[in-house]
């Protein structure tokens, strides 16, 4: 084992999958010669050539549609959105074509759309969005959101090998900020399965992406206050791992859902609804959501700091619930 960053993990997954399987190729803006806006594909162009690492014209709908078409005839394209925010331009191809191909006419569409998302980088409304909400109500899609380097690599490999369209939400803030143990051997993390990031007994925090780290920090603080927190990292947000969600709630009887995505209509709403639907009788108190407010992502640091849920917000939410 050795420690690598979240970004290196993504890079390794892409590199190893491209070496393993000639049908895997990359397309997007500036992914070739430049190596991508975030340098995720640096060196790939030299290694795999211009036909497997394609710099596309500035046209998200066009190159996402092209990825879909290529996937229908045997390829496994990985599309890079320069920033997740620009996926709005490819919305129709993803929702009308990719998501419905298999149901409508039985055709598998094995594409992965990499979406560098999330805030805390002073990017404002168009370079900081959490975009899972655009697709969360669309049957036929799968959405993953890794929180560690280990998961980033294992989930990306699983996404590439999966036969359905997968939106891979990679959090820009984590790229170079976190490092963890990643095996050199090949491994995948199954889609649709959550993990227990921290075992606990008093209350469950259900979260994903960058917020997993916020949840773990909050758990630390709460431990000092004698509260044992279980942190569930969803890993895949569509479809949700219902079993893991219900299991943790049945264990702790208290649930706080945490995400960076805005609150109304967020993933947290669905998790909350699943919990009350399926283990109402286990609940000691209300299911509480800690999420971004219903606003676009503000630019200034002062505003962005209260936009993005902080450790303190999670701590007080948990305490509120404990004293319920």
């Amino acid at each position: 084992m050795r420690e690598i960053t979240y970004l290196e993990a993504i890079k390794e997954a892409l590199d190893e999958e491209m070496t393993r399987d000639p049908s895997v190729f990359i397309l997007g803006e500036d992914v070739g010669v430049y190596g991508g806006a975030f340098r995720v594909t640096e060196g790939f162009y030299e290694k795999y050539g211009e036909l497997r690492v394609l710099d596309t014209p500035l046209s998200e709908s066009g190159f996402t549609g092209a990825a879909i078409g290529a996937s229908l005839v045997g390829m496994r394209p990985v599309v890079e959105m320069q920033f997740a925010d620009f996926i709005s331009c490819a919305f129709d191809q993803i929702v009308s074509v990719a998501a419905k191909n298999h149901y409508r006419w039985g055709a598998a569409t094995p594409i992965v759309v990499r979406a560098p998302y999330g805030g805390n980088i002073h990017g404002g409304a168009f370079h900081s969005q959490s975009i899972e909400g655009f697709f969360f109500n669309v049957p036929g899609l799968k959405i993953v959101a890794p929180s560690t380097a280990y998961d980033a690599k294992g989930l990306l490999k699983a996404a590439i090998r999966d036969n359905d369209p997968v939106i891979y939400c990679e959090h820009k803030y984590l790229y170079r900020r976190i490092k963890d143990d990643v095996p050199v051997e090949d491994y995948v993390i199954p889609l649709g399965k959550a993990r227990i990031a921290l075992e606990g007994t008093d209350v469950s925090i259900i979260t994903y992406g960058a917020m997993v780290h916020t949840a773990l920090e909050a758990a630390q603080t709460l431990k000092g206050k004698g509260i044992s927190v279980e942190v569930v990292d969803l890993r895949t947000i569509l479809p949700l791992d219902k079993k893991s969600i219900l299991t943790t709630v049945k264990k702790t009887n208290k649930a706080v859902i945490l995400h960076e995505q805005t609150k109304t209509g967020g993933v947290g709403a669905e998790v909350s609804a699943l919990i009350t639907e399926h283990c109402f009788e286990y609940l000691d108190g209300p299911v509480i959501r800690v999420a971004a407010p219903d606003t676009p992502v503000p630019y200034s640091a002062q505003m962005e700091e209260i936009f993005i849920p902080q450790t303190g917000d999670v701590v007080s939410a948990v305490e509120k619930l404990m004293h319920y």
Binding site: L54, G62, S96, V97, R104
Partner: protein, 326 residues
């Protein structure tokens, strides 16, 4: 005399008839209330889909739109399955999940048609990109309507194909109208083919009511694309002779215009050609027409007798690799 084998000419005629008869039958069944939902036909423009569809080779791919019945039939999707699809039967192309012209089947190299017009331009471009990456000598034929060329996906698909010189040929069934919208409200250029100038893609204009002309132009463009010559755009000028769909009386279309085009019916044209050039005889053509009719008769009874899907089928097939719920 152009060099198309006699059997090919007769096949082109056969598919024109088969397409016309299938869609005419759909029309009457629609008026008898035997079709589920709406019914769209390509009446008057059959030479477009038959011409470009017949010019494709077995391993090529079609990325059609919804007035391409000829392509579906030529590729091998049977009239039976299509008729059953119109009736929402289990035996339909999609097992009842989809309806009417929303057809696709990879076993026959046909990419499904998504209603959203011109979405198949980028999708077709992607299939062509795959062929280029793998170095396969296969081509893609993508088609849309004159209205469809106003969509961003038309632009993005054409541009990407041009930049990468991909093996794809883009067709436009220019039938003068987009639903009720005439060309002059759709574009400020004289020919749809003028749009191809923006991409550095050669644009051709052919008589969309002359199946031989469409076929020859398509074949030539496919050969060029197959040999690394890059994409071509082919505008087929024709006229939609029915309403937008069978419920639409198309009052907005000047009758004179229809009268004019009636004289240029693609099937009539082809018959005239085959007879005047002594390629075939009345009797032979009648036999072909009869064969087509019988095929449609069988298709209708097959579809009528076919079972409906089970309600539970609704829950199946959302994913290719469903995630096991424990």
């Amino acid at each position: 005399m152009i060099d198309i084998k006699r059997e090919d000419l007769l096949q082109l005629y056969y598919y024109l008839k088969l397409t016309r008869k299938l869609e005419d039958r759909v029309t009457s069944l629609y008026h008898q209330g035997k079709i589920l939902g709406g019914a769209w036909t390509s009446n008057g423009t059959e030479a477009v889909s038959v011409g470009y569809g017949y010019a494709l080779e077995k391993n090529d791919i079609a990325a059609p739109y919804f007035r391409d019945m000829g392509v579906f039939l030529i590729r091998g999707i049977t009239a039976k399955r299509i008729m059953a699809q119109y009736m929402g039967k289990k035996t339909g192309v999609s097992g009842g999940k989809e309806g009417n012209v929303h057809i696709g089947d990879l076993n026959f190299g046909v990419l499904g048609f998504p209603s959203h017009l011109s979405d198949n331009y980028p999708v077709g471009t992607g299939a062509a990109l795959a062929f280029k990456i793998r170095g396969e000598k296969r081509v893609v034929a993508a088609c849309t309507g004159d209205g469809g060329t106003s969509r961003g996906d038309f632009h993005e698909g054409m541009n990407f194909a041009a930049v990468r010189q991909l093996p794809i040929v883009f067709f436009c069934n220019n039938n003068q109208y987009a639903y009720s919208t005439p060309l002059r409200l759709q574009m400020a250029v004289k020919n749809v083919a003028d749009r191809s100038l923006a991409y550095g893609i050669p644009g051709k204009i052919v008589d969309g009511n002359n199946v031989i002309e469409v076929y020859m132009a398509a074949k030539e463009a496919y050969d060029k694309a197959r040999n690394g010559g890059g994409p071509t755009f082919i505008e087929c000028k024709t006229m939609r002779m029915h309403g937008h769909s069978e419920h639409d009386s198309a009052k907005y279309v000047p009758r004179e215009l229809l009268e004019e085009w009636k004289k240029r019916d693609p099937i009539m044209n082809m018959e005239k050609y085959l007879l005047e050039n002594n390629i075939s005889k009345r009797e032979e053509l009648d036999d072909i027409g009869l064969r087509a009719k019988e095929e449609i008769d069988e298709a209708e009874s097959f579809a009528m007798e076919s079972p409906y899907p089970k309600p539970e089928d609704c829950f199946k097939g959302v994913y290719s690799t469903p995630i096991p719920e424990e």
